[in-house]
């Protein structure tokens, strides 16, 4: 039951992401063509708020609402896989016109054709897990 709050947080995130138009195919294609500042403004200001929040949490040595220490560990730096994986993902993001969160939003919106990239993303994940050891990281 305690976990149900995550549904609420997900709904909040999903809704503001919709309002940011990051779910719009047109906005993503526009962004990659550098035809508008809109998406860069969204990403930039989202990161600014996130980074300032993290800074405050660090400075004040804040704990969670239940007085547990907050884990601010970064993901491990893996230059090769961060870059190569990033390029492959960026390719998919641009040609589908949606990154993972918007894929799920489109499903909720009733654009069921989005099940095609969702199912194939599961296949891609499966392939990665299967050949992971053979890839440079």
């Amino acid at each position: 039951m305690k976990q149900l709050k995550f549904i609420l947080f997900g709904s909040f995130f999903g809704f503001v992401l919709i309002k940011s138009e990051a779910v719009s195919w047109y906005r993503i294609v526009e962004m990659f063509h550098f035809q508008s500042f809109h998406m860069f403004g969204v990403i930039g200001s989202a990161v600014a708020v996130g980074a300032i929040s993290v800074l405050i949490i660090k400075q004040l040595n804040t704990t969670t609402f239940k007085n547990k220490p907050i884990n601010l560990d970064k993901k491990p730096l893996m230059v090769t896989s961060n870059l190569l994986g990033g390029i492959i993902f960026g390719l998919g993001w641009s040609i589908v016109g949606a990154c993972p969160a918007p894929l799920f939003i489109h499903f909720g919106a009733g654009n069921y054709i989005i099940l095609i990239p969702i199912i194939f993303a599961l296949i891609g994940t499966f392939v990665y897990g299967s050949i992971k050891d053979k890839l440079p990281h």
Binding site: L4, F15, A22, S45, V54, G85, G90, S94
Partner: protein
């Protein structure tokens, strides 16, 4: 009530919606000590199917339920915004409008329904959706995160790996846009 509905429905400028998107980072950190990312749910779903014996898909799923619930919330937001509120998108830039006109693509709503439809599935667009899906699933796991995990959470934590990944996202995005999308639209 009408005012609230109007505010929820009308487009918001980036300097309102962007900061609200960023708020999810402290919300999850302070309430639950979680760093959020969406693409990892693809891995959890693969793990849940128990189809693979690979070590990559062997771990305790109970600790990951929260991210599945989070994604369920994202889907609910889609239902709420598009079926109840019927949100309206903002106006695209003039350059973008000229581009879509030149490609004969109607630019209303959020998704080009004229292009991405079931009856074009066995055409080049169907291939794009399928291949793009594979790239999204494979690439996010290889990079260890997507736009939410690397661009929002990772950059907020000033992670160098996330910065490299985000640079990768844009290299890949430009290749996909200028070499693929521009030629097939």
């Amino acid at each position: 009530m009408d005012t609230i509905l109007y505010i929820l429905k009308e487009p918001w400028p980036w300097y309102v919606s962007g900061p609200l998107v960023g708020l999810i980072v402290p919300i999850l950190l302070l309430s639950s000590n979680k760093q959020f990312g969406v693409s990892s749910v693809f891995r959890h779903v693969c793990t849940a199917t128990k189809l693979s014996k690979k070590s990559y898909f062997q771990y305790d799923l109970k600790k990951e339920y929260w991210s599945l619930l989070f994604v369920l919330g994202i889907v609910i937001a889609g239902v709420f915004a598009f079926h109840l509120i019927e949100v309206l998108p903002g106006e695209l830039s003039k350059d973008a409008q000229v581009y879509y006109q030149s490609k004969n693509i109607e630019f209303t709503g959020y998704f080009p329904i004229g292009l991405y439809r079931w009856d074009t599935l066995f055409s080049v667009f169907g291939l794009v959706l399928a291949a793009g899906g594979v790239f999204i699933g494979f690439g996010t796991r290889y990079a260890n995160g997507c736009t939410s995990g690397h661009a929002i959470t990772g950059l907020s934590l000033l992670s160098l790996g996330s910065l490299i990944a985000v640079i990768g996202f844009f290299i890949g995005g430009l290749i996909g846009t200028f070499l693929i999308l521009d030629n097939i639209l």
